[in-house]
Symmetry: C2
């Protein structure tokens, strides 16, 4: 079992290492713990046996292992303890009620990236329970149409429709009218099934060449909402961290950032602020990812901060918690006010 002083010691070592990026030696901690280096060394050895500390070589100081960081995050750090200075910076954003939600989120992540030198990512999309407000179809030429879909939160998306054969304009406008009649108010993720099971049977009776028309519209409307906004802030910040000191490290992490499945690895399903240290995340063993999900006012998505494992956990977690609370809480206040 881990003793009280040992816990304190682990906490101190993590924080010291986070600050300096150098292995922590026993002497450094003497004053703090008012005991000799030998005592510290004994405790360090215990913590190493428990798997919380590592050495870079046989006679080096200690650095936290992945388990060490994990223990720190779970048991030692004081989350929710956002510093006054950090809070102040974020407050200026959330006090500005003019700001749109998306802008507020990106501005606050810009601040985090700026003051921490980590990389942050916002992954956003339309909430899947937003409802379809209007379908508009504009002809471009005899075979090409543009379908525009608008949701009740004001999100607009458009798709080009290519018809396999010429269809009279009236057929198109009849279909559009029908779609509007039957689809308005439908949550967008239910649109495909409603098309298939409710609209298709009806269209069949109204429209001459219904298969061509139906297929074209189905393709356009069912792939809606597949696109996601992704915004990186400070993509190169993480390169400033001393852990990326060799060319290969840098190339490696950059190519991970650029890779196609990066986006899917940012998504967070959990509702709290979660910390994924090293091998716990799918991006790279050398980084820590702090993520959370948000959902408010027709928008939902994930926010992630990516930094070295040697990360200022307390700071990042507490700032992310603060942001999450304020975008979800704060913006609901705002919506209520507007409704009055």
């Amino acid at each position: 079992m881990i003793g009280t002083r040992q816990k304190e010691l682990l906490k101190e070592i993590v924080e010291e290492y986070v600050k300096t990026a150098r292995p922590v030696g026993s002497k450094t901690l003497c004053k703090k713990f008012k005991c000799s280096s030998a005592t510290i060394r004994n405790d360090m050895a215990t913590l190493e046996n428990l798997g919380y500390l590592e050495k870079t070589h046989i006679s080096s100081g200690r650095i936290p292992s992945e388990e060490g960081y994990r223990y720190y995050v779970d048991n030692l750090m004081e989350a929710k303890k956002i510093s006054g200075e950090d809070m102040l910076k974020l407050q200026t954003i959330f006090n500005n009620k003019e700001l749109e939600l998306d802008d507020a989120i990106s501005k606050s992540l810009e601040i985090i990236s700026d003051i921490t030198n980590y990389t942050s990512v916002i992954l956003g999309k339309e909430s899947s329970d937003n409802r379809l407000q209007k379908v508009e179809v504009v002809p471009i030429d005899s075979r090409q149409l543009i379908a525009i879909v608008i949701t009740d939160t004001g999100h607009v998306e458009n798709k080009s429709i290519v018809l396999e054969e010429n269809i009279p304009t009236e057929e198109i406008s009849k279909t559009t009218e029908l779609l509007n009649k039957m689809l308005i108010g439908t949550p967008i993720d239910e649109v495909p099934s409603k098309l298939e099971f409710e609209i298709k049977p009806v269209i069949r009776n109204y429209i001459e060449n219904y298969e061509v028309v139906y297929n074209a519209f189905y393709n356009a409307l069912s792939n809606f909402t597949s696109e996601r906004d992704v915004k990186f802030t400070g993509k190169t910040n993480i390169l400033k961290q001393p852990e990326f000191s060799t060319v290969d490290d840098v190339k490696n992490i950059i190519s991970k950032f650029e890779s196609k499945d990066m986006v899917s690895k940012i998504e967070e399903t959990n509702d709290e602020v979660k910390v994924y240290i090293g091998s716990e995340n799918e991006i790279d063993d050398n980084v820590t990812v702090v993520k959370t999900k948000y959902k408010v006012g027709g928008r939902e998505g994930s926010i992630a901060i990516i930094g070295p494992k040697r990360m200022e956990y307390e700071r990042v977690v507490s700032m992310l918690e603060y942001i999450k609370e304020h975008i979800e809480g704060g913006k609901e206040d705002k919506l209520e006010k507007e409704e009055q």
Copy 2:
């Protein structure tokens, strides 16, 4: 003046250095020129005096200077000489008449990036002479509208409009109707002035609270087309080049790529394929940028290939020329066919 053998020599040195990335020594070129290393050395010294060659240190072989590359590009390389293999790869794309223009361009740049290991960028936008086809306005709530603008080439853009005070629905739809009547067929870059000088005076007579409405619409419609598509292919490719062998080099070039004004530095105003070597380009002294402008079928923009100064100039220039010719020529053929 530069003699014939010296030209040959410079050409050979550029090409050898491009291939190997190591300074070229006099011995290497003996067989090729059927003379002794001393002769080569004399000529090299001349070329160095003329500013076309450099040494990395006093007893090293020679590498081309920026002027050397420039001379090579202007006088020595055989452009238009695309290799059969490269041509074949590009042909498969341009023969595929199914492909949309944008896709054809990005596919061909993917190929270039793949086979050369350089980075390519496409900067595209709607042509400024495209014409407005339709304006649609959808209300979201009492104060918020979505304006959707469609051009004759099927490009759609939308902007949210926030009204400063409540405006009756009829006023909005009257305005929309008016806009459609007066703006259809207007080239999009003429929309702002037409709003100001033709629409504003008319609106004044029809609409109660015309200033609020006019301002809201003006903001929405005049900032249209400001957004540009940017697509990088192989952003990390250039890191594979041996010139980026130190961490600082890599970090430096990456941060240039990420910087905000990168996009503006890609734009090419010249109609030919142009080569910007080292300090000639604004991105970074250590890279060469090969750029060209294209304009076809409602789209226009620039294409750029970014690689080390030690670039396969002949290959890149000839491939880019081939692509430019084919997207502009080829797609016009296609358009004509479709019109028949």
